[in-house]
């Protein structure tokens, strides 16, 4: 009667539709907003640049919690959540890096400057990319999940330290900050928050799809092993 998996599918599709609708409306709204006084049209990239960073950070936090829960309960579903949310977070962080780079190229003429925030994002990206490489290097599933959980904890603890050190480094050796010089009018805030919501929903949709794929993969692996044993 109450088919849980069908309702989960409905919810997922609902979220996905919501994302598309909100994004479409947002992009329309954003395009119609007046250009920034100092920096022109490109400043609007901030509507995507910052939400992506925030989503990525949230993803890291979720991965941390999932990893801790896995180590406590040894339930593989937490491991699936950890890897899924880390991959999605990495994708969003990459989006942040790319939009940052494009912004820098348009405004400053260079594809990369060692701006504090972008550099921190880069280091964090490498940090979590190596988490994924660790997963790939461990064959046995239980060992893989355990090691990955430990490493996710190590990585997450480093994130604030990285952000702080790089900020301090840039305080000592100042460089122009990327979006210094742009102003953010108050009435843009509403659109910004809607876009933030869209990004988060998108992340949830992507993570859910990935979690399902991970759980299905686990079943397949187990069936394959059983078949080999016969």
């Amino acid at each position: 009667m109450f088919d849980k998996s069908r309702w989960r599918d409905y919810l997922l599709h609902l979220f996905g539709a919501a994302v598309i609708v909100i994004l479409a409306r947002d992009i329309n709204l954003i395009a119609r907003l007046p250009q920034d006084v100092n920096q022109g049209a490109i400043f609007k990239i901030i509507f995507f640049h910052v939400p992506m960073a925030v989503t990525a950070m949230t993803a890291a936090a979720v991965a941390f919690v999932a990893s801790v829960l896995f180590l406590i309960t040894r339930d593989f579903r937490y491991d699936a959540l950890a890897v899924a949310v880390t991959e999605v977070g990495l994708a969003f962080l990459a989006g942040n890096l790319i939009t940052g780079s494009i912004w820098g190229h348009i405004i400053w003429g260079q594809w990369w400057a060692w701006d504090a925030r972008l550099t921190s994002a880069l280091v964090c990206w490498i940090l979590y990319a190596s988490y994924l490489m660790l997963r790939r290097a461990v064959e046995e599933p239980t060992q893989r999940a355990t090691f990955a959980a430990v490493w996710s904890i190590f990585s997450f603890i480093d994130v604030p330290i990285v952000i702080f050190s790089i900020k301090w480094w840039r305080t000592q050796h100042p460089q122009p900050v990327f979006w210094g010089g742009g102003s953010f009018p108050h009435d843009w805030l509403v659109v910004f928050l809607w876009n933030m919501l869209a990004m988060v929903l998108l992340a949830i949709v992507m993570t859910t799809v990935r979690v399902r794929q991970e759980n299905a993969q686990r079943e397949l692996d187990s069936l394959r092993r059983t078949a080999h044993a016969m």
Binding site: P141, D221, R225
Partner: protein, 232 residues
């Protein structure tokens, strides 16, 4: 209370069960021979008994406590596939090292004593990397028995031993059993193992296909169990 109790142990690699609901008991002073084909799960089970890995479900109790408890670890002696001694150290250095780790009162003395009992006293200061195979294995046996464990877990101990080492091991096991110690050994070498065994368990694809006391029948025809309870 049995010396070794395996209570409903399952071991999963991912979702695949390598051990399914294994229940076994070995009383103090018993010698349990674990037999089974390659891949049946003997090594997996022994390693869980020794505390190297955790069961997915169920538990193992050594003398009533968990194998990973510090006190319990002192009571377990494990002999695996590798000799677990360092090539770059001498025989006496190796044994003294482990004697210290196990908190023995007189580490050097205990080390020297066990070198004698395994016939290695003359090469005490020799580096293990220069030892012959049989000597290396005798040193491995010395390391496993060094701290006077009450439970010995041996993974295919007779495989690839030379005659002298086999004799040493059999003598030490008989002495240990006479002292009331418990032995669990997995084996392919049915004959040597079944001579010493008081109980036998046959593992087949992670399940206990047979568990019971060793009978004269088994010693006479070791393959009989496989024929009856195993597959093919």
């Amino acid at each position: 209370m049995s010396a070794v109790a395996v209570d409903g142990v399952w071991k999963f690699y991912g979702d695949y069960p390598a051990l399914r609901d294994v229940r076994l008991d070995a009383a103090a002073g018993a010698c349990l021979a674990l037999i089974g084909r390659n891949g049946a799960g003997k090594t997996t089970l022994l390693r869980i008994m020794a505390g190297f890995s955790r069961p997915g479900r169920g538990e193992v109790r050594i003398c009533g406590t968990a194998p990973r408890d510090t006190a319990t670890r002192r009571r377990i002696g494990f002999l695996g596939h590798g000799i677990s001694v360092y090539d770059e150290l001498s025989a006496i250095e190796n044994l003294t090292l482990f004697a210290r780790l196990y908190g023995l009162q007189e580490p050097r003395q205990a080390a020297a004593e066990w070198l004698e009992r395994t016939g290695l006293e003359r090469v005490a200061n020799g580096l293990v990397r220069e030892f012959s195979r049989g000597m290396r294995q005798r040193l491995a046996v010395a390391r496993a028995f060094l701290h006077n464990p009450s439970v010995l877990l041996l993974d295919e101990p007779f495989t690839a031993l030379d005659d002298r080492a086999i004799a040493v091991l059999q003598r030490l096991l008989r002495e240990a059993l006479a002292e009331g110690k418990t032995v669990v050994m997995s084996t392919h070498q049915l004959r040597e193992a079944l001579e010493l065994a008081t109980d036998v368990a046959l593992l087949n694809r992670g399940r206990v296909a047979f568990a019971g006391p060793r009978t004269a029948e088994m010693v006479a025809d070791p393959g009989f169990l496989y024929a009856r309870y195993g597959e093919g």
